[in-house]
């Protein structure tokens, strides 16, 4: 066979993205039954929701105590004035980015495998942004004056300082939350109509009916709907990149060693996607098991996500390498000291753990065998979730604890209220997520239908 002939050969067919034997009806019934048939709510849901809700109550206690006693109950103090509040803010908002990536960028790239994971990944985005948003709102010290963050005409005759990255953050995060919510809601409308039509009780018909806004599947509506989805995807793509870029400006604009680097925006965006995909996998693996969704979220999906985790993990590893290289190459003693301090200073255990979690652990994903084992994937993703938290810890705490003047150095440790807030936001996230999978279709029903051969037009009768 000539080389040319070889090149023309068809590539081996890819494994299907949907289990065999499904029809429009079976997909609709299977996904909507999770929401509509109360008797089928699995025990695991009650356990998961229970844990989430208990942790959510921990959050309520933590916030109450914070409001009563002030942020002195948290660890940050001069010189480390940013602690868990900012670490967790960046961690959560980074996690959220995978949802937008899946629903927007993969839509533009016509990756059809996104269609069974986009709905719950977008929900994950919303809830992660909600958890993230709590931190800066509470960190300001007097949360009841949070509206001062927004520009509004006031009796003081003052305006926010628009040259500050912190006000950029206000705009970036609130825009991101709004657009994510809109995108998610628009995606839900046809499925809400399905739930309205299939609900057997009055309350269900009324609530889903109102939310569906009278959607009737008209061809003219679908035409505009598809157009609007593409437009929203096109808008959300630069938005998601800009949000984490602006989050990285919070650091990069400051002249603190280890922060003042041009690599920060791309490195933060890659880290966000990395953390986010790890979290999508962390959620998807138990979900498909508990709800028997292996037909819709196949091993092929997990395989693809594993590859994205590996690819973005390599970008993140490149970021770490460049940070170290630039610290040396800059010739700046403060930058050089910061880097040595990371490797050998008081926080060295965290830095080495970070490298183990974020650089070493994902290398296992090069192997097909690892990517096709749900347990291995789950373990690696847990490493990444922890590693990305440690990354933010190192960036914030190491740089602030020992900057220019040794006389003003100081160490930071989280207090028990720091930890209870963190655990509490995990509770908020889990509570919202479990409510979502109970009351809304966690997989996009109409997008799953479009993947079937039934959705292709074959006008045989026209002949």
């Amino acid at each position: 066979m000539t080389p040319e002939g070889h090149a023309l050969e068809e590539p081996p067919p890819r494994p299907p993205l949907i289990g065999p034997g499904h029809t429009f009806g079976s997909i609709t019934d299977k996904i909507s039954a999770i929401v509509l048939e109360r008797r089928r709510t699995p025990l695991a849901w009650f356990i998961g929701f229970g844990i989430g809700f208990v942790l959510f109550l921990v959050l309520m206690v933590s916030i109450t105590n914070l409001l009563l006693r002030g942020i002195g109950i948290w660890g940050p103090n001069t010189p480390v004035a940013w602690g868990f509040g900012i670490i967790n803010f960046v961690w959560w908002i980074g996690i959220g980015h995978a949802g937008t990536l899946i629903s927007a960028i993969l839509l533009l790239l016509r990756q059809t495998w996104r269609q069974s994971i986009n709905r719950f990944a977008e929900a994950m985005t919303l809830f992660a942004v909600a958890a993230a948003g709590l931190y800066p709102l509470l960190h300001v010290g007097r949360p009841w004056l949070d509206y001062w963050l927004f520009p509004y005409p006031n009796t003081m005759g003052m305006w926010p300082n628009f040259r500050s990255p912190l006000i950029w953050d206000v705009f970036a995060v609130s825009t991101y939350a709004t657009v994510s919510l809109l995108f998610w809601y628009v995606g839900l409308i046809p499925d809400l109509a399905t739930l309205r039509d299939r609900s057997e009780n009055r309350a269900g018909r009324a609530v889903y009916g109102m939310l569906a806004m009278g959607w009737r599947g008209s061809a003219r509506h679908w035409h505009r709907y598809e157009l609007a989805s593409l437009l929203l995807a096109g808008l959300a793509t630069p938005l998601v990149v800009s949000v984490h870029t602006i989050v990285s400006f919070d650091f990069a604009v400051g002249i603190v060693p280890g922060w003042h680097a041009t690599i920060f925006p791309p490195y933060f965006v890659a880290g966000a996607i990395y953390a986010g995909f790890a979290m999508v996998l962390t959620l998807a693996i138990p979900l498909r098991r508990i709800y028997g969704l292996q037909d819709f979220i196949t091993m092929q999906h997990l395989n693809y996500m594993g590859r994205i985790v590996l690819a973005t993990g390599l970008v993140v590893a490149y970021g770490y390498t460049m940070e170290a290289f630039m610290a040396w190459y800059s010739g700046n003693i403060y930058e050089q000291f910061m880097m040595i301090n990371r490797f050998t200073g008081p926080y060295r255990y965290m830095y080495w753990s970070l490298l183990a979690c974020n650089v070493v652990a994902p290398q296992a994903l090069w192997f097909q065998r690892v990517r096709s084992s749900t347990i291995a994937l789950m373990v690696i993703c847990m490493f990444v979730n922890v590693g990305m938290w440690l990354e933010r810890y190192i960036i914030i705490v190491v740089s602030l604890s020992a900057d220019f003047m040794p006389s003003s150095w100081g160490l930071f440790t989280g207090t028990r209220w720091d930890w209870s807030m963190y655990v509490g936001t995990i509770g908020l996230f889990l509570t919202l997520f479990f409510l979502f999978i109970r009351f809304l279709p966690m997989i996009s029903i109409f997008e799953m239908r479009t993947m079937l051969p039934e959705a292709k037009v074959e006008e045989e009768s026209a002949a």
Binding site: F162, R163, L182, R198, M213, R216, G217, S218, S461
Partner: protein
């Protein structure tokens, strides 16, 4: 004023998407214009047949984005240069590069809001009542059935003639849609 027709239209139900597209095309070729197809999935061919003209949505979104961007920059400029000029780190009052992030975010926000509101407005949603829901089997249109409704407003519409026309397309059934 024209008298309201006694029914909203006639609706044919199909169990196969190809049949629906064929039926819609035949109806279009026979001169029917006031009609709509209802499907559980988006169908490109039907959009081309029924929506016809290009949508105004992209233009509206562009305008929304431009307006949002101008508003974002104007907010930064007016507050930092005119209403409350204050020296921050020796930068000029109009330190426009630091206004770019907010300008960008407002551009995206304006465009996205117009996309969603425009989608709903052009589609006439929310719509609390629509006659097609009077056909009991129409609930299946959000599951696995395909419907074509020829509306009584159409000049060619005739209760008997149109019913015979639809029945020739071998649907599962044809039903009258009450107002």
């Amino acid at each position: 004023m024209r008298q309201r027709p006694p029914i909203y239209g006639l609706m044919a139900e199909f169990s196969d998407l190809g049949e629906l597209v064929h039926a819609t095309r035949t109806a279009h070729e026979s001169g029917y214009r006031h009609m709509d197809a209802y499907t559980p999935v988006p169908v490109e061919e039907l959009g081309e047949l029924l929506a016809g003209h290009r949508s105004h949505l992209p233009l509206l979104v562009l305008l929304g984005g431009i307006l949002g961007g101008i508003a974002g920059f104007a907010l930064c400029y007016w507050t930092s240069v005119i209403d409350f000029p204050i020296n921050v780190g020796g930068r000029p009052f109009n330190s426009w590069p630091s206004f770019i992030p907010i300008t960008f975010e407002c551009t995206v926000l304006g465009a996205a809001l117009v996309t969603v509101l425009g989608l709903l407005a052009l589609n006439g949603l929310p719509m609390p009542y629509h006659p097609v829901f009077n056909v009991p089997r129409f609930a299946l249109s959000s599951r696995d059935r395909f419907f074509l409704c020829i509306e009584a407003e159409d000049p060619l519409f005739d209760r008997e003639e149109t019913r015979r026309f639809l029945e020739r397309l071998v649907p599962r059934q044809v039903s009258e849609v009450d107002h």
